[in-house]
């Protein structure tokens, strides 16, 4: 598992049924591109988050395929429809096989 990887998400605590909300996500990850060389001249192998998904109550909101050109500490902002109360789940997939996830509940009000 890559070290120091920590996800953060910003989701409103509540929304009206059917409202469109803005979600922001950030995960601390080096995103080693595979383009850099170490001091001995050897290529530092690629090691990035390569996929991100956001689901709500089991239904998909967005899926992102990431390439090495996504900056360190990948950041995404997007919108989701909130049909009912429930839980957003956020999942990041690492080249090294690790999976990081977090979730946030939202109420209708």
């Amino acid at each position: 598992m890559a070290s120091g990887v920590k996800p953060r998400v910003k989701v409103p605590k509540q929304a009206a049924a059917g409202e469109v909300i803005t979600i922001k996500t950030l995960i601390s990850h080096k995103m080693e591109s595979g383009q850099r060389k170490d001091s001995d001249g050897n290529v530092i192998p690629r090691s990035i988050i390569n996929r991100f998904t956001c689901d709500f109550n089991g239904e998909n909101v967005i899926e992102v395929t990431l390439e090495p050109a996504i900056s360190t500490n990948p950041y995404f902002e997007f919108e989701a429809v909130v049909p009912e109360a429930g839980e957003f789940t956020f999942t990041w997939y690492d080249d090294d096989g690790s999976v990081y996830d977090t979730s946030k509940k939202i109420a209708i009000g």
Binding site: Q35, D55, F56, V61, V64, I70, S71, T72, E77
Partner: protein, 139 residues
């Protein structure tokens, strides 16, 4: 700008020259990426907007946004990077809009291109030139 297939090829060739001969491989790769995404279909202009700064403060972290009314999927390419592929956004059933923002790495001044596959199966493209600068005293 009306983007016919001819223009897209010329744009690709232009990117080849812009990227510089040592990076000859990269333009071929962007052609492949585009044709894998579109299946060779014609790319028009229209329902796709790409927001990127005119001058990037630093090529390491360049904020961009893509937005469309009816895109099912949006492919983002950095035509001058060693590997042009940046990200693909696929909107699910509960997407509140066909839009997303992120931060990307740009190796130098280049065109950033967003190609959208719309709900009706057609493809549209937008591009933005981002100047990536070398600043300061190198510190």
């Amino acid at each position: 700008m009306e983007l016919t297939r001819r223009s897209a090829i010329i744009l690709g060739a232009g990117a080849l020259f812009a990227a510089g001969l040592p990076k000859q491989g990269s333009a071929a790769t962007s052609e492949e990426l585009i044709s894998a995404f579109t299946g060779g279909a014609e790319i028009g202009a229209g329902d796709i907007e790409l927001t990127a700064p005119e001058i990037a403060e630093n090529g390491n972290t360049v904020p961009i946004a893509v937005s469309s009314g009816s895109a099912a999927e949006i492919l983002v390419l950095a035509m001058g990077n060693p590997t042009p592929n940046v990200a693909t956004f696929k909107f699910g059933k509960l997407a509140g809009s066909r839009a997303a923002s992120t931060r990307i790495r740009l190796a130098g001044t280049q065109d950033v291109v967003a190609i959208a596959k719309l709900d009706d199966g057609s493809f549209v493209q937008a591009s933005s030139t981002v100047k990536v600068t070398i600043g300061g005293c190198g510190g």
